[in-house]
Structure formats: structure tokens, C-alpha cells
Assembly symmetry: D2
Homo-oligomer: 321 residues x 4
């Protein structure tokens, strides 16, 4: 269970109210507003607020006086055009605010995206809860042998069991010491009236990086797409991808036309280098080239095949060899 | 009249609708949503959308699960504390979007504030309307003799008349030529079917800097306060201050508690240097110092008097002199 | 002549000195440091300062203790990898500062790139010089009939002559009035001691948008590449492209390896949509599709042909028709 | 010893070379370029590169063609004026790049300053070294009883000893498990050829927050001053202040005039609220007010006394009471 009873009640009370507004409103997103969408073992993503919808993109692109057209097809056409030609400012006119609970080592990756507003739970001011991330066995992967920055095969059950045991025991122990240094017991009561207890801002350094933290995170749609392109991607670490995937679903509810354009022109599209374009051109013109002829490294050649989704034959080379 | 009939109708139709939402809603701001608030002779400020309210600041400062307290006094206390101690991130959690019509030379000042999202009407793509700014006679000021960057006394009526005549005639003429170069008449029809007409992206360079442009401008509350502190200030050029003053009123409607804190701790507060603090301390301790003793320049001394709102006596010096 | 005698002397004196430094130094860039590189009729780009070189990118990517490898081939490989996989932070570790003189209507386009530092010549504080941009006849293009945002054919000589006359005469006249309103003659002397003269911050509004302004502009290499990709491109307005082309040459001198990677993976590369990738795949597999089959709009199909540099045959369709 | 022998040699080799440059050069900063300045028990700050000096601020404020004046007094006057009146863009024209080694929990505070460029050592790609922070006994403070976010008195020796023991033992143990999970021994060799070893990006989550990380951090002078105002301050956590204090010394070497202005107008200056200014005015005019009369909270009154450096008498109240 992700939320405490009190948190759940507070949330329900907030959802209970509705207010009239002249602003752009998206009912598919209102349905899940404030609700925690579970991620990993104890994390979540909650949409707290949003500004704008698909028509707000159109409205801003036209610097219009009303709410943009009501013709979905024309709106989709314009939004596609804007996305394709990197006219990013209209997408910046939509904004979304999330409440996110995530492990600290993932928060550290996340925060590299600087064009967002963040307010994090303060472990100088408050005591962090005893909640840490333990990967499910199927996500306990070995170091990749091909890619220094990535995962390879799943660990065997025995290894996985051992790793989970270490992670859990160390997390338990450091938390016990965290409380002990602050002179608190598990109920948060003072252990020993003679001792003063270490300052929170210091005691926190004993926690491991899989402890959960929380923050409010607010970002515009253009920068959110940038985040999602990098993080809802198979190159991203699984744990951050799990968050990005859930957020992508919220975006689909919120701005379905912009979402379609994003999938078509960014997420499922591909960037080809000058050399890759030359290779593609040769193949289309019926003059296949080999990797050696192209001058591309094996790694780049494989990346090109992966983008195109086909194997580029290298018959000439093989014949020669 | 600032809006055309079509624009007015479009706006009214947008205002006609109301939708239910679970989001934070501010009725005082809803009242003026989409309505053009006049600025200068033909400009305006319109609030197009907003995200959050005073409780959203509190909610984010506490990384809370519900909507923040409902105790206004506690909220005001926390908001004051955040403002006083430069905890800026909770204020970043509110966002507002404006549609603004303003002269180009003011747009050029405005855009120096980079932490905002902008989408401007494109004079590459469209034809700019024939609307230019002519200052009212009472705003036609002479160059300041004390301050290289500012205005002095009002021009005398004769001079003012002459200036307004020049501004108006030049603006009229360059627009006539703007249309002529594009091979268009005043109704936007093609003048001469034999001529092709200059590209819009080039023709626009003939317009003067008092022509009006329009943009959508979106900013978070923290950065908006920064903008307003600099621009709703007597050091700012009158024309941009006119916009800032109107926007300040929209902020007062939107987040009244944060507005109060802004006025108390920023706008009506003052920044004192190390030396100025030393001077103030001496005066409070009954040991007044002269400017010469203080080591401050005449300019700084006057600035200090202006911040404090009193004249600091310099009797000793005068006696000597 | 772009610079005044005084400016030229000031610049020469600055270039006359050399100092020893332990920092990364690029002799090819030192050669042109401070020198104005002419752009348009009266504009220029001057490199004022720079931080880092190709090895600084490598050094930062490795968070290294020394200056990075001295093996150019390994450095090129790593830089290519970083560029290809959008690891942008190492490129942010290089910084360059320019002094640029450019027409105001171009400055307005330019400033949309917000991730740079700018300090512009103040027309509130100082008087703008009498220098305005008149396009050369070969750049006086008609409005494009295909693209609302662009240029078509060159104007015929008669039209071009007329346009240049208008631009020149209007620019001359508004400047004469600019001085007159400020109560100054052409030598900057007071015309009439009885009159006070309009404040500079107001008088400037009478100038046309082709007047030149100047600024210092400082940006990191990653954001500069982003700027150059958009502006050293045939979609960009000619006048800003002229600046971007010159700046691209300075980048080639400064960081030749990063420049090569930029050309290969960004400038001469291409972004394909999901649908475009599907089309390319079909063609490579010997199963050409028609535009209609692909579902692409005519505009997108043409864009794809332009990226690939070939015409994709549509024989089937034509046969049917 | 902070650096390994190899790191030391690499650094020395880099320092061994000098190159001629036309750029602004600061010999006082060149002296310490690349050298690690120790912070905490195992951290450091190294200046890696810099752009500009005091004259570059002046040069940019004037958008000048040469290197700014050579008159130090005039430069100091202008720099003071710019600082006092928040003309921030000229300070943005100087840039500095640091290599910093710091505990992860401090890195997490630090990164909230978003207007900087960062490239951090990757624990996805590489293995983090066994280096963690243990506070010196005199920095082991109790939780403050007045301020929820801060430290109070020093722990007694016995408590301090216990805390240090916990921190050290937990850090040792989690690192041993970090290696074990990756199937490595202390020398980095594979422990068991039958096991594959957990991916680095996962294993790192077992480390505690006092482990050291490293990054390259690049920032402009204006934003650096903002960072230093908040972090070289007694409200800041000791551990980050230790870094800020060392960096402040590097700024003093680099831009001594801007440093003086920063100390005078920012660091040693103070921000007074509207009410505080009213109180100060009354006192100066010989009409002291009590806190109750002022309407200030006790906390704000104490803050005002702290800024002014004097106790404001409250005799009237006391007499009444």
C-alpha cells in the first residue's frame, strides 16, 4: 500500500470538490487528478495540476483571441507541423505539475533536467520515512558486457536472492542507525533523555541511495516531451523508465493530439547522420553499400539497422572474404 | 477601441462557457479571465490561464498530499516566511499565462527576462496591423539632466505637439510604404498584378519601433515577482511600468497572500549595503554620521535617504562649510 | 567601413598584447580574436573570448584530472559518440563570447534563444548611431507563394530599385526626426537652447527596425550548436543565416572535432518520422510505396525527398491516374 | 591525501605548460589553476578554467570595442553601480569552471541551483571509489531546538564518538556489499567466475549518502554570486558552506573589484521589509517603537536586530509590564 490512511483521506477530500472554471479543462485528466499511479515497489506519480490542452497549443501558435479552432483535424495538422519543424514555443504554453515519490538514486538522474521547477521534501527539516526500493527479481540484471552503461541478462535466482538480501538488510540497518543517531526509537519517541541527538541534516547521510524521497515537479509540455524522449526509451535505466512510461500515459490523456505528434515525429522517429542518409539513399537507388564502403563503425552501422528496423546486407564483403 | 468586433465576439464566446474542475480555482481571477485590461493607447493585458493559488504555494512547500491548510493565517505566516528567506521554489509552483499587446520597443525591454515562455505574433508569416503607440502629452518627458537613463520634466505644450506630429506622421508614412512594398493597398488587396511584392519578412524592417506587436507570455509566480519588482518601479521606463502595474493587479486577485508578502518584503522593502547598515546603526545609537564620514558617494547617500524616506542631517559638515 | 578610426585603434591595441596562461588555448581562434568579421552591409561578428577547446569536452566527459587525452582519434571517437547520443553536458563545458552588430529586426529573432547571456547597447542611455541595413538587390525577394513564411523569387530590378529607395529614404527621415526630437543636430550639438529635447528612451521609438544595434552575446557550445542548426539553415531568414554562417566558421576554428561531429550528426543529418522510416524500409526492401499508400501529406513527402536527396518514384499512382 | 599519485602527476603535467593568449588573463588565479583546494575530509575544489576578469564586466557593460578602461577607480565605481542596481547582465559575461569532489548529500543540495552546467562522474558507467565523508567531532551538532532546519550545540564527546563509529562502520559495510554484489573484490578483480555480477547502475543504490562524487561545474559570475550569497552564509549547512567559503576565495583572486562590490552590497548588506524600514525610520527620528507597536513577530524582530547588529530597546513595553 503506497499511501497511509491519513494521506488517502486527505487526497479523497481534495478530489471530492469540484469548482467551475472558464479555463481549458480536460476531463480525461480530471478523472485521475490527485490519484497516485503506482511505480516500482513503493513509488508513485500523481498529477496535481495542469494548464492548457491541445487547443491551447493552437491558440498560442496563432496568438489568438479565442480558444483556437474547434476543428480537430486542422488542429492535428498544425500540431504535427509545429512538432515536425521544431516550433517549440507553442508546446511550452502547456504546463503540468506532478507529485512524485521516487528512490534517491533515480531522483539524482532526474534532476539533471534543469528546465523544470522542483520542491523536494526536506530531510534537513523533517525525518525521512522508512521506505526503500528493492528491485523485483526480474529487474536484477547483470552488468552488460557490450555496453559499459547498461544491463545485460537477468541474474540467476540464487544471485538475485543474495542481492535482495543484502539490499534489504543494509537498508534496514542504516535506518535503525539513522534513528539511533537522532536519539529516536521506531515510534519517533526520544530514546534517551540524556542525549541530544544528531541534527537531521547530518543523520540523513547514513541512508542508502535506494531510500525514497518525494517532490513536486512542474514542467512545460515541450520540456516534458524532451524528458520523455530520453527517459521513456530503452537506453534509459529501467527504474526511471518506469516513471516515464506512467507519465507518458498521463500526457496521452491530457493532450492526445500533441501526444500523437510526439510518438510519430520524436519517440518512434529516428535521427540519421549525413553518412547514414547517404547509405539509405544508395540502398533505395538499388546500389547497396557495405559497412566498410560506408566508412561507418560497426557500432554506428548496428544503430542504423536498429533505427531502420532491418538488416542491411553486406553480401559483397562476404563474397570477397 | 482595442479589440475588433470579431475579436470581441471570439473572446465573449470563450468566456461564455464554464467547466467543472478538481483543480485549484480562484474566482476573483476567473472574473477577469480573457478580458483585455487596457494599457497605453492601444495595448492590453489579458489573463489567459493560471495554475495554482495561495494554497498551492503552501501545498508545495509541504510536499503535501492534500490541498494545504485551510487556515488563512497559518498560510500567510508560512508564505511570509518563504518570501523573507528567499525560499523561492514554492512560488515557482504557480504559473500564469498572459496575452499582451505592446509596442515593439517595450517588447525589446521585456524579453530580457528570459525565464518565461513566449510565443509572438509572426511578422514573417503575417502582416502587422496598422497600430502604433503615441504617448499622451503628459508622458512626453525631456531627457533627465541628472540621470543619463531616464526622464526629466514634461515637454512644454509646443514641443510636445511637435513631437507627437513627427511620431504620428512618420508612423503613418512607413506603414504606407510597408503596404506599398508588399504590393498591397490599405484593404490588403493587390495593388498591381504585374508586381510580385516584397516578402513580409523584409518589408517589416521599414516599420518604426512604436508599432504594436502581440504575444502569449507565460511565467511562474517567482519569476513574475522578479519582473514586477524591477518593472513596477519608478526606475523603470513609464511604458513598461504601465503594463507591470496592471499585471500587479491581476496578481493581487490571483494570490492575495503572496501579493501581500511581495509588497511587504520586496516591493516596499529595501536593500541596504554594509556601509548603509553601519550608518543606520550609528544614527539609531544616537551617533549620527555625516556623508563624508560614512565614505558613501553623494549618489549612494541620496539613494539611502530615498529608501529610508527621511533626510539624514549633515549638520557637522555644513557647520564646517 | 564597419569600424570608426577610434574603434579600430582600440581594437588594435587590445590585440597587440599577449599574456601567458595555463588554460586551454586555440591558436586558430586567437588569430581572429577581437577582429570584426563583416556581415551584411554594416554588421559584424567579433569573437571576444572563449573557454575550452576540443580536449575540454573530453576532459569534462571523463571528469578527468588532467587535460584529456592527446590522441586526436580517440577524442574524435568520443566526441562523435557524445554528439550522436545527445550527451550534451560535455559540450556545455565550452563557452564563447561574441560582440555582434546587427539590425534590430534580426536581433528580435535572435533573442528568442534564451539560453545565452546578452548585454545590449542601451538606447535609453545612449544615442543610436545612424546606421541602417539596406539589403543588396539580390536579397530583395518576393513573398513566397508556396510558403507563407519565406521568400520566393528575386524582385525585378525596377521593383528592387523602388524598394531600396523607400527603405533608404524612410530610414534617413526617421533618423533626422530622431535627432530633431532630442533637439540635436547631426553633429550631436544642441539645436535650440530654448528647447529641452525628448528623452532618449522615447525618441528611439521613431527609428525603423532596420537600424543596427550591438550586443555582447555569450553562449555555451551545446546551445550554440542548437542555434546554428536552426539559423545556419535554408529555412532561416537570409539575414540571420548570414550571421550564423560566419559564426560557424569561428566554431570550425575553435573546436574542429566537435564541428565535424556537428556537421555529420546534426547539420547534414536528418530527422525521420515513424512513417518516413517505414517508407524508407519498404524502399530498401524492394517494395516501393506510393505517397498515398504511405499516408503522408504531399508536404511531408516532399520534405522526406529533400532530406534523402532523391525523388521517390510514384509510378503506380501515375499509371492509375 | 586527496589525490592519487596518477592524478597528481596528470595535474602537474597540465600545469607545466603555458601558452600565449590575447584573452583577458588573471595571474592571481593562474597561480592556483588546476590545484585542488581541500574541503572537508576528502573533498576539493579545483579551478579548471575561467573567462573574463573585472575589465570584462566593464567592457560588456559598455558594449565596448576594446578591453574597457584601465582606470581601476572608474571601473570599481561602475561595478559598484551595476551591483547596487541589479544590472546583472555584465556579471554574466564572466564564466568559471570548477572540478569539485563532494559528498552525495551535499551534491543533492547543490544541484538545486539550476543555472549552471554540470557533468558528473557516472556511477552507471564506472565504479565509485571507496571514499566517504565522516564529520570532524566539532561539526557533529545536535538538532537545533529553535530552528527545525539547523544545528544546535555540539554533541558531547561520547555521543560524537558513537555517531562517528556508526557512520564509518555502515559506510564500510555497504561498500563491501557494493563490491560483492558486482562480484568484485577490493582490487576490482572478479570474485567468482561463475557469477555475472549486478549491473553498476543497480549496485550503487546500496551506497550511503556520505559517499563522495565528483563533477565539473561551470557557472557565470552573476549566478555564482547568487550561489555564494545563499551558501557562504551561516544559514547554510556547514558542509556546503565549507565549499562556498573556498570558492569565495577563488572569486577574490579572479575578480577583486566585483568581489568587493559583492561583499559590500550583497553578502554584508541586508534586505529590510517595509515594516522594518518604518521601524528604522522611527528610531532614527528619535521615536523608538516597541516590537508590539511595530506589528512584527518576535522572529522577525530578532532577524532585524541581527541585520542591524544592535539590540532595539523595548523599554516602554517593559515599563508597562
Amino acid at each position: 500500500m503506497v499511501l497511509s490512511k491519513e494521506q488517502h483521506e486527505e487526497l479523497e477530500e481534495t478530489r471530492a470538490h469540484q469548482y467551475p472554471t472558464h479555463r481549458a479543462t480536460v476531463s480525461a485528466l480530471e478523472e485521475i487528478l490527485y490519484k497516485p499511479l503506482p511505480v516500482l515497489d513503493r513509488g508513485f506519480v500523481r498529477v496535481i495540476d495542469y494548464m492548457g490542452d491541445d487547443t491551447a497549443i493552437v491558440q498560442s501558435a496563432r496568438v489568438s483571441y479565442g480558444k483556437g479552432t474547434k476543428h480537430i483535424q486542422k488542429d492535428q495538422g498544425l500540431i504535427n507541423y509545429l512538432m515536425r519543424h521544431w516550433h517549440t514555443t507553442p508546446f511550452e504554453m502547456c504546463e503540468i505539475k506532478y507529485h512524485i515519490k521516487l528512490p534517491i538514486f533515480i531522483a539524482r538522474q532526474w534532476i539533471r533536467h534543469r528546465t523544470a521547477n522542483v520542491n523536494e521534501y526536506s530531510a534537513r527539516y523533517s525525518i525521512l520515512g522508512k521506505e526503500f526500493y528493492i528491485p523485483a527479481p526480474e529487474h536484477l540484471a547483470a552488468q552488460s558486457v557490450q555496453n559499459n552503461q547498461g544491463r545485460g541478462d537477468q541474474l540467476n535466482p540464487e544471485e538475485a536472492h543474495k542481492v535482495m538480501k543484502i539490499l534489504r538488510e543494509d537498508a534496514e540497518r542504516v535506518y535503525q542507525h539513522y534513528e539511533e543517531m537522532m536519539n529516536l526509537n521506531e515510534q519517533g519517541d526520544i530514546l534517551d533523555p540524556e542525549r541530544s541527538g544528531l541534527a537531521r541534516e547530518l543523520a540523513r547521510m547514513n541512508l542508502t541511495l535506494n531510500y525514497y524521497t518525494e517532490w513536486y515537479w512542474k514542467i512545460d509540455l515541450h520540456n516534458l516531451f524532451h524528458f520523455l524522449r530520453l527517459r521513456a526509451d530503452h537506453h534509459a535505466q529501467y527504474e526511471i523508465r518506469a516513471y516515464a512510461d506512467v507519465m507518458l500515459e498521463t500526457v496521452k490523456r491530457w493532450v492526445p493530439l500533441a501526444y500523437e505528434a510526439f510518438v510519430e515525429y520524436r519517440q518512434q522517429g529516428g535521427q540519421l547522420s549525413q553518412t547514414a542518409l547517404r547509405v539509405v539513399r544508395s540502398f533505395i537507388q538499388g546500389q547497396p553499400v557495405t559497412r566498410t564502403q560506408s566508412g561507418m563503425s560497426l557500432r554506428e552501422w548496428k544503430e542504423l539497422e536498429s533505427i531502420l528496423g532491418i538488416i542491411l546486407e553486406e553480401k559483397t564483403d562476404k563474397t570477397v572474404a
